[in-house]
Symmetry: C2
Subunit: 220 residues, 2 copies
Amino acid sequence: MPNKMKLTAADLLSLFNPADSDQFLAHFTTRHYPPKALVYSPFEEKNLVFVVKSGRLRVYLAYEDKEFTLALLEPGDVFSTHTPAFVQALEGSEILVCSTATFREAVARRPELSLTMVKVLGELLKNSIETIEGLAFKDVRLRLVDFLLGAAAERGRASTEGTVVQLGLGTEDIALLIGTTRQTISQIVNDFIKADLLRKIDRKTLLITDMDALKALREL
Amino acid sequence: MPNKMKLTAADLLSLFNPADSDQFLAHFTTRHYPPKALVYSPFEEKNLVFVVKSGRLRVYLAYEDKEFTLALLEPGDVFSTHTPAFVQALEGSEILVCSTATFREAVARRPELSLTMVKVLGELLKNSIETIEGLAFKDVRLRLVDFLLGAAAERGRASTEGTVVQLGLGTEDIALLIGTTRQTISQIVNDFIKADLLRKIDRKTLLITDMDALKALREL
């Protein structure tokens, strides 16, 4: 749904057409940012709403030495800085900025503007939930990686595509061994498969296709 | 902004008025749930959109033995199950369900529906980011709690309002001691102040107002 709701660059430009009778966006001001420039930091108090006119921006959280990217903004995307996230221009970018109050009026007159907010918020939410999952699973994921690397070192067999590992155990037994649930193991294994780290051969056999990446997970 | 955008129960009911000429919501079906009933689990494949007609529902993530509440839904709220979250009825609740495709058409005709989506998504996102912050800061927060409890045990002075602790160190020095940044310490201390665990007396002195709650943080 989100993508379908995005205003196209053409729709967006038509909203900014000066011939528009209600001078809809007269209160927006244009700001230009060079590549890498920080557009917004959560330590600023002032809330803004902006529409991306050109370029590409990254929305991210930063804690300690960790960064979590929540969204990439493209022309036509609307973003509100109510979230405590950083916004950085990835390339030279132009944004159209207004106050929250102005935007609220704009949306009252042009409800379709909120469709693009739904799209951006949906993307932010999806990536936030993935981040939560990653953090919540961190300990058990590390234990599973250790288990897989141990099994590979002990019983792994080199093949042209990677290392074939006979686990000798089903998901339920691995879960017991690691101290988690079958569901969590399945979920993490599926994440690893999606990330092209391994493939399932059968119920008790895996092919580790990217051993280095799997080892690197222990350093995260 | 989000609250202002919420459809009121009255607005909502008017959308469902059978006299409505475009029979806007003819494709919605009503479902009833008793208190505590699970309305949606992320293990179901089918995506739905629903409007809360009555009652109250909780949206939450569950991993291992941890649960993270992301939103409470109330009458007039619109929710889409595209997010991998659980939805549970907190009390007896009625929801109006339709397919994603139907909802997309409905929004095209009634863009104001997306305003309530913005409100719900905003709440989900805010709580998701708070959850990420909590998880990302978990280690350093624990170290800070240990430092504060240690200082209280060593140099704490009982007062009518709690325990006055002369830290003897500024934020910068505490950060160095704990192995983090000044900014992170400030952020966590502010979280503790908001949660009524402590108050600042001056730059190097704190009043711990809820020692038990502070100790309980070590068990999380």
